[in-house]
Symmetry: C2
Subunit: 404 residues, 2 copies
């Protein structure tokens, strides 16, 4: 008799987004003339940069001709893309990362879900609270998280590091030893970040403890302040303790195109084994490379025109972020994020809970956001708005909140 | 101290293809004028069908415009593609498969590697010998295979079902109970297949034993004989015991484009849980959908023009297969496959071992193939040639073997 992986059954339902959808549906049914503006999702809305489109068309044409057709891609990514990534995202910033430490994939979500596989089941993981759900869920599915405590809203074997305005959204070191630490800066969902000195402390801590940091830098392109690190490898010693995840989704708008990469340095050795070799083996066995045409699209992001066009995209979204942030501030809201990230994390007024604020926003302003508590118990009393929408609609949303 | 997944360390090196590459390299170094013809790889070489190229360009144009841009795809695949698959590959053949039993992915390799995740660690797996390595390796990485016996070339906890000319390459039922059975027909590497009555026996066996069959139908498009099933769901009762894997690589040439799908029927329930729901949860948590443009390319495969162009592609490769098969037969070789598949599996002459035949072919005919023993101990004394090459080169290769 076949047996299922019971750890899958421990997973919590995705109540957050289905709850949101249900409440919006009910509101729309009762208010057929409602003009709802959605600032809840983390998906981009602007079209792909012209240079990316050009690269896609050109690569498609190559696939149409016998002489230039490409079959299976190298499992770990084409050399042209690995080099472009290492040159631009690392070596140009003074981080000494080699081409063969870059692993191209179909996106940071896959990588952040799969990376836990190369570690033993009995590693203890630490996550911030609130947190991007994939880090926790992929560990639940691997049987690493223990039992869920309904009252606490937490797993018994996961170490949570609360990030709230009280600690300025900077996680404190865990009180017990942990083996794997997930950090995401600029942060999803809070939009906040930490400076280089603070990240250096985490690197030093991990090296001292023998822990591995999984550093999710998906929102790196939104960093506007000098003191905020673009990569963990800007810190001394990071190559012996950190894996870094990157996405093309949020800078170049690849959410529907699917491309990302993970950096696993040669120097990252655990129990005498290079994690790089384990990750390469996973790619080789269970993955067949990102599509050639999409890898050419990724390469185009690093061309001079591509860089300029990506910059424009980011400026577009960050104008939204400023409008939301300044607008809410002028109304007296306490807000965080939005400076180095496309997310605005606001404190609900007078201790109102996240869901009640959600309902009020929906009913009074017809604006949809995301209740902070959906990302973890320490998100209670907060609310996320995203800057990925259309500028005119974003303005209207803020103006409606003002009148609410 | 972080700990690695020690099961990864049990993996055997990919000696097969690196060994082949080394021997070819050495031969080329010693024979600088050698004109090597490669009939070893399973990768296609013909350009993508015109209708697929058209769909790609058109979808790329959609991604360039605000009104038609698409961000995150549905995790499980776009409805237009799931419907086209279910309509054409199933309902048109009388198999009652619903759109929501189709899970679109970035390829059958990923799915065949990932599918074991939804099962408990203590399931016993059965594979044919010889076998496509991913089925075994992904289970090694999950800790399901026990210890490797160097002398036998087998894992202690895996049940092997030998497929040789003695049993007409039809696997016999395992002597002990097994939980998960991997079957691939038309088979890689042997190119052989089984008829519908034989597959029905496997379905009945699995239903009786409470086993799950993972049925890899990647080479389905090459079937030319009436009695060979295109899908396991042509058999009575398959929906309660079988998962089916499909690829766009070998029919439409998507090896470099990456698209596949897996069918998990609602009726497939293990320990009271729908496997479909577990697989959906895996997709939702660790995957973000195949690229929109590639899904549109997949849809084009099912258009009338697309079908005609795919048929042409397959006829091109099958002409190679016939040339290889008939040529070798006329030389006195005993050959298998090549009728319902692009692989020719030949018996080496007079008990010559696979690697010695490899060397002789390389040195005497400058043709590269794949030693059968590389796919498992019962592949010893066999050799694989593929029909995925250029027709003129394939002819020349066969003519050289004739003169050898």
């Amino acid at each position: 008799m076949a047996k299922i992986n019971n750890d899958y059954c421990k997973l919590r339902g995705s109540y957050l987004f289905s709850d949101i959808a249900r409440r919006v549906r009910e509101f729309e049914a009762a208010n057929s003339d409602a003009k709802i503006i959605r600032l809840g999702i983390g998906d981009v809305t602007r079209p792909l940069p012209a240079k990316v489109i050009e690269a896609l068309h050109s690569a498609v044409d190559e696939m149409a001709k016998q002489e230039t057709f490409r079959g299976y891609a190298p499992d770990l990514g084409y050399d042209f893309l690995r080099k472009a990534i290492a040159d631009n995202d690392y070596r140009a910033r003074g981080c000494d990362i080699a081409d063969d430490e870059i692993f191209v994939s179909d996106g940071a979500k896959s990588d952040s879900g799969n990376i836990q596989e190369i570690f033993a089941k009995d590693n203890v993981i630490a996550v911030t609270d609130p947190v991007y759900p994939v880090y926790v869920d992929s560990n639940v599915m691997a049987g690493r998280t223990g039992v869920f405590d309904e009252a606490l809203g937490q797993w018994s074997e996961v170490v949570y590091m609360p990030c709230t305005k009280e600690n300025n959204f900077v996680p404190e070191f865990p009180k017990r030893h942990v083996d794997i630490i997930y950090l995401c800066f600029p942060n999803n969902p809070t939009g906040t970040t930490i400076n280089k000195a603070q990240l250096q402390e985490w690197v030093d801590y991990a090296n001292k403890e023998g822990s591995v940091i999984i550093y999710d830098a998906a929102y790196e392109a939104y960093i506007s302040e000098d003191d905020v690190p673009h990569s963990i490898y800007e810190c001394q010693g990071a190559k012996t303790c950190a894996i870094e995840l990157h996405s093309f989704s949020k800078n170049a708008g690849f959410t529907g195109l699917r491309l990302g990469y993970t950096v696993v340095p040669h120097d990252l050795v655990v129990e005498g084994v290079k994690l790089r070799d384990l990750w390469a083996r996973r790619h080789g066995t269970k993955y067949n490379g990102a599509p050639y045409i999409v890898q050419r699209a990724g390469e185009a992001v690093y061309s001079e025109e591509g860089k300029a066009q990506v910059k424009e995209l980011i400026e577009y979204y960050m104008r939204n972020a400023r409008y939301i942030g300044e607008g809410l501030k002028s109304m007296g809201y306490e807000i965080f994020g939005g400076v180095n990230s496309p997310y605005i994390w606001l404190k609900t007024p007078e201790g109102e809970d996240s869901w009640s604020f959600f309902d009020r926003l929906l009913h009074k302003a017809q604006v949809v956001g995301t209740p902070g508590v959906g990302f973890g118990p320490h998100g209670e009393g907060y609310f996320r708005l995203t800057a990925f929408g259309d500028y005119e609609k974003t303005k209207e949303a803020v103006d409606r909140i003002r009148k609410m």
